[in-house]
Symmetry: C2
Subunit: 459 residues, 2 copies
């Protein structure tokens, strides 16, 4: 009899698990079918990219995207939509940049550059100086003030193309762009040129943020990204003639902070409305392309999660909130403000998921949580096997949701295939034609599926 | 003492395995670094696609690609390179096709079509007839001769967009293209229009092979693919007015078979030269695009496998043979001839790997072998984990190597991410600009790694 009971218990447990898991897998299948058959993410992104376009913080275009985001969220008929005010930096590129390499007096080859975000202008007549090519800050410091002073520092350490994870390669080189100008300025450089952060050789300069650290206004020097082809050419010219001179002119300017908004919408939870699940991306982009991959994709995928739930008539247990964050690219003011407001209101965030790594075929999710928690969540992995994206791993989530981290909230990031991302990242080539409809939709479906599972997790 | 021995044995076995596995993983890392840093596949494909272009069997362009393939293989200095003669079908598209929907007398909307490969021409004045839209052969047969006779049959069953594996969706719809014309002709249809085999809505007709089965010359009717946008439009028009007429004109023609070649190169094995490992793809393409994904990618990846071995100074134990097969698209004559010749010469093939599913991020390998053998090979999977493509599964290899199947040879196919393949498959949009360098190189590296492992397997 004991034995019978014992067997019965096993059988029951198994059936019960299997039923739950089965109903989860049925619902996830519905999510995928909805995303692939009736998805709106692609058409949304078409509008956002082609009718609005690039939308740097503080621009008129950014405000147009806020209006659009609010209107679209209202159209999918969720419980509430509102704007969260946030003060953001305003930086303007100004007139197109120009640069050339002087191979010998009177013989110039023009090369494509783009001012780095936050950089000051050159004098209106430009900067014309000798060039010091370096691969690292150590090399720069060892060369010292005598070598650097009066020169344009040219950072030319490429992203490591042998790394399979291109984000790791980016992480290994981007210090040149973010901190290189301050380092060079301290040693008396007159300007900075940085090799674009991409592994491909092409003619697009890739912009991105840079910081002057503690430098006073008069210590600051202008900085620009040069296309990888341009960097290769400049490096060759320097190796032929170390006295090769470089000219560049840019007209960028920092203005006082301006008021803009993060867009928020939510479906109220039916069982634990006080526990909030966030899904989001950033609505701002750099100004060169239309930001389709960075991060238009994350925006429309996040919106699509709520649209899918509404369309499948799914009533979430917890409150599901979509957040279209302001100002990720050059300030993270939207993410910081959201976390600060949330803390002031004593809101409890249970889970937050960000998509900000491009709209490519989703390969998995990264989690920022305890190992113990991660082990439990990793059990969901098998539910994604049929969709080719069962790669859950610990490490990282997203910049905008990062400030929510409090030791309790579980953070996660969508991890799409990373091979193509840096081809277009922060460049004029980040445009809608680089988006594949199915890849974008599969990302949205994966996100909706994870949000659904987390909504039912630990109830 | 027994115990000690026993422990010693375990330790030894473990060390031995670990050393092997470790040296394998070190060598695989070298392969990936070589492919990503010094790879030639991308430049080769640039030439093949942009300087030679589309190369249908029997065309001058195909013969140019044979010459190019042979020359390039000779340049990488492998042991021998030769051409295998093969007779192939010659089909020519002729003057550009034209089609329109007559919405009402005198009001025509032109739509993009492309003759299916192997189809006969229309009369020079074209075909103008009423249209019968069907989704399946069953539907067609139920409608019967009275409904079909004198009409253009319009097959309009879309590929199932909810299937994650797009090849499965293709398999579920392609019978309309391959067998639909014969089915319709038997019931008296005067022509056939087939919805293009793609899930996207665009203006490219996607061609592909069709067969007349046993139909005599005078029973044959012409067949063309219509773009998906065209199919949607035609279907709408028919639902508004079932008497809507369709006009199409094409000038395609079948010629007698012509002599051409499969290109073969090899590195002789150092330990078991009599055991052959094949890596290959097909050199022919459809005529509309330049065939960069189908199958230029597979060609240059296969060539790259041997180049990598030479460059790393790897001396294979078995004979490694690269085969650039002729005539996969409309006849499979190259694959059949290769297998037949091989049998005649009593050659022993140990392993064959084909890449013919596009040059996208590799996700895994499919195997066509016994379950027992597969279980052993699946142990290699973990070696690919760091490269994001550890998905080994049973089922399918490649069309060209299929004829080698004899119950002994192990067959395999590279399985890239399938989301974008059918966007361009057999259409004018299958061009070099759709190729991503890193994705292509990662495929070549994965193939070289598997070939290396199989070369050392069961020695």
């Amino acid at each position: 009899m004991r034995r019978l009971n014992y067997l019965f218990l096993i059988a029951f447990t198994f059936t019960s698990y299997s039923q739950n898991s089965n109903s989860d897998s049925v619902f996830i299948n519905k999510i995928y079918n909805e995303a692939l058959s009736n998805g709106e993410s692609y058409e949304w992104l078409d509008y956002l990219s082609n009718q609005i376009g690039g939308r740097l913080s503080g621009s008129v275009n950014y405000d147009r995207s806020v209006k659009w985001g609010k209107e679209q969220l209202e159209l999918i008929d969720i419980d509430s939509v509102w704007l969260q005010p946030v003060m953001v930096p305003k930086w303007v590129r100004g007139a197109p940049e120009y640069a050339h390499i002087e191979t010998r007096p009177g013989n110039n080859i023009s090369v494509p550059i783009a001012a780095l975000g936050g950089s000051i202008s050159t004098p209106s007549i430009g900067i014309f100086a000798n060039v010091l090519e370096v691969k690292s800050f150590n090399e720069l410091r060892e060369l010292g003030k005598d070598s650097v002073s009066g020169r344009i520092v040219f950072y030319n350490r490429p992203m490591d193309e042998t790394l399979i994870n291109t984000f790791e390669a980016y992480g290994g080189s981007v210090d040149q762009r973010t901190r290189g100008t301050a380092e060079a300025a301290k040693l008396g450089a007159v300007g900075v040129i940085v090799r674009s952060m991409t592994t491909i050789l092409d003619d697009y300069p890739h912009t991105g943020s840079m910081y002057y650290d503690g430098l006073t206004l008069n210590q600051r020097i202008p900085a620009a990204a040069i296309s990888t082809n341009g960097a290769e050419l400049l490096s060759s010219m320097l190796s032929l003639n170390p006295k090769t001179k470089f000219f560049f002119r840019q007209n960028s300017k920092n203005f006082p902070d301006v008021l803009t908004h993060t867009v928020i919408g939510e479906i109220k939870g039916s069982q634990k409305p006080e526990e909030i699940i966030v899904v989001g991306g950033h609505l701002d982009t750099w100004d060169l392309g239309d930001g389709s991959h960075d991060d238009g994709a994350g925006i429309v995928q996040s919106m699509e999660v709520l649209r899918i739930f509404k369309s499948l008539n799914y009533k979430p247990k917890r409150t599901i909130r979509v957040v279209l964050f302001a100002n990720e690219e050059n300030g993270l003011r939207g993410g910081n403000k959201y976390a600060r407001e949330s803390k002031l209101k004593n809101e409890k965030h249970f889970f937050a998921l960000e998509s900000d790594a491009g709209g490519f075929t989703p390969r998995g999710f990264s989690f920022d949580t305890s190992e113990k928690e991660f082990k439990l969540i990793k059990k969901f992995e098998e539910l994604f096997e049929d969709y080719g994206m069962n790669n859950f791993f610990l490490g990282g989530s997203g910049a905008d949701i990062g400030p929510l981290k409090d030791g309790l909230v579980i953070l996660a990031g969508l991890r799409p295939d990373p091979q193509r991302y840096f081809d277009v990242h922060h460049a004029a080539s980040d445009t809608f034609d680089k988006i594949n409809k199915r890849e974008l939709e599969l990302g949205a479906a994966a996100m909706a599926s994870l949000i659904y599972l987390m909504d039912n997790y630990k109830l």
